[in-house]
Symmetry: D2
Subunit: 332 residues, 4 copies
């Protein structure tokens, strides 16, 4: 296995939305991201403590879902080694120009087909006048409206299968596998992997439709559990659909709130407290079906739509149809 930390961290990602204006209002007004620019069908959004220029690239599209996930390599040599290993898997798509403020990016797909990019060079975010923070160790002034979320935390992909993606993350990208759901038949239904000292950065869970390339959710970190309770109160009075929570996951013990953005993508607000995975030889914690049946940490049953709603919707399944209707009614 390659060494840990060749990928320094999860960087910005692209999110697709069929309702770009409403989604933009959600990301800026509710989540408290700052609009920093635009290019073509995309707007660039920045979370207040992201040291780089972009946190989310929000792109108008015919449907919802996730575009490219970008990962920052720890240095030029680490980038070279990563690219070599990726090329060796035959999944490389080649070098591309990065988004504005980002250097050359090597693009590839993991086995399930989600597009990813690795790069090292990037510009520091420089706050415009009016957004200069009071404390110089902070990227941007904290918005006075919305949640506001501190930074991107993780991505949870849906995959037709989990194991090939987990293995790719571990063996090619150098991720550490921290927790898993292992079914009674031995199949892995979910795998949590990390590039950092956080418990997880990239997660794969099984797509019940058998589709590839879909998204379960992306997550943003808040500083406290109170921020998440407050976010739930805000959701209530500002027409944001709450899917489930606030509550605490058994897996990773994350305090969570799940909402849908108007484009249909599921968004998590999460807080890990002071929990870190510091052991470089951490053994995956494997959860059984019986253990999962107990629900979340404090007993909340996992909500049914967690197993029926992913983006983009899959048009020809009954579950997707039901869910699409549901989402349509809910996100209004």
């Amino acid at each position: 296995m390659p060494p840990l930390h060749e990928i320094a961290h999860l960087s910005h990602l692209e999110l697709l939305t069929p309702r770009p204006e409403e989604s933009l209002e959600f990301f800026t007004g509710y989540l408290g991201l700052t609009r920093t620019g635009a290019e073509g069908d995309s707007v660039f959004l920045h979370a207040w403590d992201d040291y780089e220029r972009t946190t989310v690239k929000l792109t108008a599209h015919s449907t919802s879902g996730i575009g490219r996930t970008n990962l920052r390599a720890a240095g030029p040599e680490a980038l070279d080694r990563l690219v070599s290993r990726i090329e060796a898997t035959g999944r490389g798509l080649g070098w591309r120009d990065g988004d504005p403020g980002y250097g050359p990016t090597y693009v590839f797909t993991e086995p399930d087909g989600h597009e990813m990019g690795v790069y090292h060079e990037s510009e520091r975010y420089v706050p415009p006048s009016g957004l200069v923070p009071a404390l110089k160790n902070q990227a941007q002034a904290r918005p006075a409206h919305g949640v506001p979320v501190r930074r991107l935390d993780h991505v949870n992909y849906l995959g037709a299968e989990v194991v090939p993606n987990r293995d790719y993350a571990r063996d090619t990208l150098g991720a550490l596998v921290t927790e898993q759901i292992v079914l009674d038949d031995g199949n892995v239904a979910g795998s949590w992997t990390t590039f950092t000292n956080k418990g997880y950065d990239a997660v794969w869970t099984r797509d019940w439709t058998g589709s590839s390339g879909r998204l379960h959710h992306i997550a943003f970190a808040t500083d406290t559990r109170e921020d998440i309770l407050r976010a739930a109160d805000l959701a209530l009075d500002h027409d944001v659909f709450i899917e489930t929570g606030p509550h605490k996951h058994a897996i990773q013990q994350t305090f969570f709130l799940y909402v849908y953005e108007p484009g249909g993508n599921r968004i998590e607000l999460c807080n890990a407290g002071a929990r870190l995975v510091l052991a470089p030889d951490w053994e995956p914690v494997n959860w059984t079906e019986a253990e999962r049946a107990r629900g979340q940490a404090w007993g909340l049953k996992t909500i049914e739509s967690f197993h029926t709603h992913g983006t983009p919707p899959v048009p020809d399944t009954a579950a997707a149809a039901v869910d699409r209707d549901l989402a349509d009614s809910r996100v209004r």
Copy 2:
């Protein structure tokens, strides 16, 4: 400079106390650490989310202060490289048996003389019956008494000089320098360094007495800022001396509370929220004298005893005498 992350994290450390029974009561009753064993003049204490066997080794001694700080290497090869570099500096003291549950440890001193050890092998903490947690991704049941702190967070050493220790941490141990206090005359009065994605693990600030080998404080992490407010309330009704706080540091933006344990050592309870230093090429944030004069984040002036109280006390300075009297009256 060596690569980052060869040291995986700060591990357990030894704290010296002239009042071992009262200190033990403080660490178990107030901080909520669990006593796991004893050996000679030492007792071993475990924080509820430490995956290894020991968080603090508390040793009865003629005076207060810090003993060996242990650092876990990311793997056997990383350990070899670290030891080679340490030996090359001429500061190595050789291999020692680790504390119970820890493998061979290479012992050395940093330029100021604080004893340190690097090791890789260690046993996982196994909770005894009665301390088995409800969730299997947690090391130990959370105590129902005291704060209780989640894990050791960082050490702040006093040093006759800061720069040699900072350079040693960076160039020999592979630390990243994240923030500093740079005086108007160019001297560095404090340097914050990290081995992980946390903002800091090891800090050196200047010893006003010119002494070597002393301690400013050790710090434990709590999950929330509320935990720290609650810890302050507990301190009030349980005879724990509060030196300053709760408030928020400008440097690193840590929410803090400083108390003295009965042996005289300063203990910080700290919370970083979701703040992480993810940039592998983070440039040190340098604070000027003028900036420091503004006090802590929300305006609290840095307390005078921050510049007069370290452990062990230095017997032949007036400041130390004053402080010792103060501490004696306060910790009662």
Copy 3:
């Protein structure tokens, strides 16, 4: 209607338990009440900010349930007026000696048969050495273990009918009705009433078994929502059965956690934030069936056992049998 505030506040109450030792451990070890004395089959328990001597009188009994609820009259004249009105309803049982530290108490039952007492004279709680608080405006040192709860907050009675009890509270005791559940057929399924500026002190909800005199739950107040999240974490690792929560009620907007004490009684931990009902002419907020179907504030569905578990259990109903088995398995 009589004037508001003749009853100053809900005072101590008696709780019955068939498992007195385990219940005592729950109330002292988990909730953080302090045992202050004993008499016959009862122990007296004190919450750290109760200015009077007793918060809960815990009595060993053949079954679970609630004994007498005591209410403090605002003064001697208010007590006289209350007793006159109670006598006029024919529900008076006469004067009794109060519990230790409490003066003469006039005992009566509300229409559903729950025993109540009104008194005015009472002694202040005087903390013994070791429990003297640091701040003189606080009744007792805050325990360093358990939640610990600050004070009793409210009682939720089950009643064969709601309206007669609501009317009795309003017309005889001088309560203000603040919120209600009004079914589509016009029946009132729940009524929240207050003697203070809190949103509610005494609640009646309909007993699905048609029984009289039973208890839905008693509730204790914590200072923050974080205290309740922490209480849920403690419950997890200290074998306390969580029924539902933490979440936020739609009715009264209370942040809550429901647990069962080992004797089977349901206990709520609750926090109202800074919410007060200050309007002396507050009009009841009436919730419809359709509104209740939306669940709690953030969407959590009301748990089924809320409609099947009361104390004492009713032996000859199927629901009670199911629930009893469930409770037996859960509270272990």
Copy 4:
């Protein structure tokens, strides 16, 4: 003494500002009050959980300070009794039309000359479209920007003397005196009084300049201590001057943050947790000089400007001049 609770609660008050536009931005943008209307030189502001139409009437004026404080009587008879007692003291100024949404108001001054009004009739706040809350037991949708504060909490007047005002509040208005500062010479330097179950609604502290009619601060309640920590973070990045805090008062144990609004008036954000004063015969807690010298609850020394800054400034004192300069530099 008159019965408690004839005054139901502190209602809206008028605040004067020489910088009306900047003050309005502070109250709406930072505190999160909602502008509901205007009349002459005044704008009306509403806190999201105030059941009446106005929380603060902000009036452009040549200087800072407080205008009329309005108190709501519990009913028409209570209002009559209050007015009779006020008239008997010779301090009545007669009946006036209330502010929009408020009925006839009897105006008077307490002995120090602060203008007050008592009334009973008032209209309920009706949220306009776009501000309708999700939960019907809430006055207004919670703003998504600023703190936002829940409701007005208390007023702290400066008075040439304390005792006459305290006695007036107690003997004429029916307040309960809950805490006091009693100097070694027997003088009362501060008195906290309440009309409700809160620890205090109206406070008088001694004016060091010997002036009459000035303001120390007005305070707004937040739901949690976390809200106040967050308010401090917002202040930092949004140019709000923090005078002191966050910390916890020894007196009343209130968690606090003091800021100055641009007009110069001191504003407190406060949280009492679940603390209530429920005893109808509560004996005042008297704090000595020695006890006050220990500082606030966790040891913070009371800030010097607490004894030098009041509004309006007193032009001919040196202290006021110093403070005015300070304030000018700070509130920018």
